[in-house]
């Protein structure tokens, strides 16, 4: 550690001395005098005075000379940051954002992008420079190894840039596009890449991250806008109130961090271990709401009126349903579709020896989306998608590489934990991604695919050959591969928790309390109105018999009255 610290100091000093000759000269002059305090004598010349407007933050980074560059790389900007924020890099390096690794203490599984497989591009390993373009660091070219313990490799700007022009190129392992930008280069949001002005970015920084800082990666997971999550799309940059009541400027105008509170650069909220119940039921007034759960603000009796009877009845539901279940009636709202089906098995088809694509889905804004690509296979998309509902305690157990699968069944890439009716469980909405992925037919394990790697002769997206792609992928991670591959159907579950609708758009009673309602086939609940129960059937039989009885009796009376004419005095 000490050595590391020394090295950091050395790097930081080098950068500072190299970039600021004037400053260095001045300091050198100071060094001649033995008085140690002289060179570090505080300089308050840039401090704001009473005549200046009062700012929100105590430091205006645009006033710092050290941030005026020039910078040759993102890493050099980070070094400048670290010269004051000495602990920030180490904090980031302890986060999931950096490690792409998550230890689930409950299941004992080691998860995270660096380890697990998903139903989208499959795996990061062997596709690094493309996948790690969204890593919050610079230059992670091999996820088989953890990122080096090098704080200057932390990308401060991706989260703290306020200039709006900082971005990362989509195939440089996290580096921003700099002069000269390669022909046809794209950013991580799919936009045409132009060179980033690092000085402008550095001078603009300030906490906390805005929604574009988070969104530029998280809205584009899976290789495009809203492809992966379904409830995280570019629609949330400036959503209408009915798309997201919390994030809309016409609503609460929350930034991501309003709910995803952070401590030491580690953020609350996890799709591996989601808070489905209030983790702090003993919350006292004024205590920290340090969980990204609805109840952190709304409590678990959030319904107040105007009708107290209905409010009480709705509050009765909170021990069974997650808030999201009723308050996110559908996901992929706001005009950006999400990928719902991805069939890799059809990838690799060529027309006249050339890759081709089809655009069979028209998004509500008129944009055409791919429904087939030679690189990726067949897709389906959806907007305003009804979630898949399941009992969940928030614990996800993954089908990890080398885990035996049953290819005769749909393989669940992640299994939702929890028990019907369990105290720790609620019925929660999910995006159920439907996949078809490569597996080893002899060993019954999922296979790593090597998709990105122009020029290496094996990458699927360049050479369209599954044999080579899978062999290269498995060789890369050093796992056994029989060479006999097939495709297996998969499900992957993504918790739906964003795009909370205004209360007037929440589900109504009838959404579930109806025949074939949304909770149909869920165990552990009795849903009145979802169909006539046994008691109802028996009762109906009794009732119909009574009706039939009186009708028969009445009919007999009418007939007999005819026979006994005059005998009745009524």
């Amino acid at each position: 550690m000490r050595q590391t610290a020394l090295r950091i100091t050395a790097i930081v000093s080098t950068v500072i001395w190299a970039q600021f000759p004037a400053y260095a000269q001045e300091s050198s002059a100071g060094e001649e005098t033995p008085a140690l305090g002289a060179q570090s004598k505080p300089d308050a010349s840039k401090a704001a005075h009473m005549s200046d407007p009062v700012k929100d933050l105590t430091a205006d980074h645009s006033k710092f000379d050290i941030l005026k560059g020039p910078f040759a790389s993102g890493s050099e900007v980070t070094a400048a940051c670290l010269s004051c924020h000495t602990e920030a890099g180490n904090q980031v390096m302890h986060s999931v954002h950096w490690k792409w690794e998550y230890q689930n203490e409950v299941t004992g599984q080691t998860l995270g992008k660096a380890h697990e497989m998903n139903a989208f591009c499959g795996n990061v390993a062997s596709n690094e420079v493309r996948c790690t373009s969204c890593h919050t660091g610079y230059g992670w070219t091999d996820v088989r190894q953890p990122m080096p313990d090098d704080p200057t490799k932390v990308d401060c700007l991706v989260c703290h840039d306020k200039s709006g022009q900082y971005t990362k190129q989509d195939n440089l392992a996290g580096e921003p596009p700099l002069e000269p930008v390669a022909e046809g280069a794209k950013t991580i949001t799919g936009a045409t890449a132009t060179a980033v002005d690092l000085v402008k970015a550095a001078l603009s920084v300030g906490p906390p991250p805005g929604r574009d800082n988070c969104g530029n990666c998280h809205f584009y997971g899976g290789g495009g806008d809203n492809v992966k999550h379904g409830d995280l799309s570019s629609a949330l940059f400036n959503p209408a109130r009915d798309v997201d009541v919390h994030m809309s400027p016409d609503g609460e105008n929350f930034a991501c961090e309003t709910c995803h509170v952070s401590d030491k650069h580690v953020f609350e909220g996890s799709r591996y271990e989601t808070d489905v119940v209030d983790p702090h039921p003993d919350r006292m007034a004024g205590s920290a709401h340090d969980a990204a759960a609805c109840q952190s603000c709304h409590t678990d009796t959030p319904h107040k009126g105007p009708n107290p009877l209905i409010a009480a009845k709705l509050n009765d539901h909170t021990d069974t349903l997650a808030c999201q279940t009723c308050h996110i009636p559908s996901f992929a709202r706001g005009g950006v579709a999400t990928k719902t089906v991805w069939d890799w098995s059809t990838a690799g088809k060529l027309k006249d020896g050339k890759p081709y694509h089809e655009e069979g889905f028209t998004q509500s804004d008129g944009k055409q989306l791919h429904t087939y690509m030679s690189q990726k296979g067949d897709f389906e998309w959806g907007e305003n998608v009804t979630p898949y509902y399941a009992w969940s305690n928030g614990e996800m157990t993954y089908t990890l590489p080398e885990e035996k699968i049953d290819p005769t069944k749909v393989v669940e890439i992640n299994k939702i934990g929890g028990n019907p009716g369990g105290e720790d469980s609620r019925i929660f909405p999910f995006k159920r991604m439907v996949g078809t992925q490569a597996y080893d037919k002899q060993r019954d394990v999922l296979l790593y695919n090597h998709v990105y790697g122009p020029g290496d002769g094996t990458a699927l997206w360049s050479y369209f050959d599954w044999e080579k792609s899978l062999q290269a992928g498995m060789d890369y991670v050093g796992l056994e591969y029989s060479g006999d591959f097939g495709f297996v159907h998969t499900y992957m579950y993504w918790p739906i928790t964003h795009m909370v609708a205004p209360k007037e758009d929440a589900l109504v009673c009838e959404s579930c309390h109806a025949q074939d309602g949304r909770m149909a086939n869920l165990a552990g609940i009795y849903v009145p109105g979802s169909g006539i129960n046994l008691g109802g059937k028996l009762g109906l039989a009794v009732f119909l018999l009574a009706l039939l009885g009186v009708l028969g009796h009445g009919a007999l009376r009418v007939i007999s009255r005819g026979k006994n004419k005059g005998g009745h005095h009524g």
Partner: protein, 216 residues
């Protein structure tokens, strides 16, 4: 002994009866909505009306029970076997032959034995079944954390619905029987005006006349 028009149904008695009619009809209608038999009104509104009306009816029942016991009116409903066969035979056979109803109403016993027995069953079995299961159903929020909460809820819900249909069957037969004998309107009128033709001993006649409860 002669028939006289006596005030047999007091104001509370009539109020009790017609409130029950109104609330039970509302409960049938909203309950059928909750069961999914129709979708004429929103589910949430049906829940609310069903709950409020049920609680109001329970309150009415509490008052009525108190009233029946303080006035001795409960004795009307005590079942007895005497005359049961004759009444049963009448409904199964005699009515088709144009026979007169074998039961002669008295002031103390307005109901024929079959009627008394069915009211007794209604009050002692069906009504308790519906309100006990209903209260358990309604208070689900207080006990659903217990083991097997949703299983018991399902049992209770089934029981509640079954009891409701049994009461509905009673209503069907009850209304139908009003058409037998002197006719529907003749039978309903006393429950509106309070007066009914009853056989009175001269002593009773004198007593009621003094009380101002005779119409003729």
């Amino acid at each position: 002994m002669a028939e006289h028009c006596v005030k047999v149904y007091s104001r509370f008695n009539r109020l009790w009866h017609w409130s029950q009619v109104g609330s039970i009809m509302l409960l049938f209608f909203t309950g059928a909505r909750l069961l999914g038999l129709h979708t004429i009104m929103p589910f949430g509104l049906a829940v609310m009306v069903h709950t409020v009306v049920a609680l109001a009816l329970l309150l009415l029942w509490a008052f009525a029970t108190f009233w029946l016991f303080t006035t001795g009116g409960y004795k009307q409903f005590i079942p007895r076997l005497a005359g049961m066969w004759e009444v049963g035979r009448f409904y199964a056979y005699g009515v088709f032959k144009g026979e007169e109803h074998p039961y002669v109403k008295s002031y103390e016993r307005r109901h024929n034995p079959l009627q008394a027995a069915s009211y007794f069953a209604l009050k002692m079995m069906l009504f308790p079944a519906i309100w006990i299961s209903g209260l358990a159903y309604l208070s689900y929020g207080f006990w659903d954390h217990l083991d097997g909460g949703s299983f018991w809820l399902e049992i209770i819900a089934n029981f509640h619905v079954l009891a409701a249909f049994a009461i509905a069957s009673f209503v069907v037969i009850h209304v139908y029987l009003l058409t037998i004998g002197h006719g529907f309107r003749q039978h309903v009128r006393p429950m509106v005006s309070g007066y009914e033709k009853v056989e009175l001993t001269p002593e009773a006649e004198a007593y009621f006349r003094q009380q101002g409860r005779l119409l003729d």
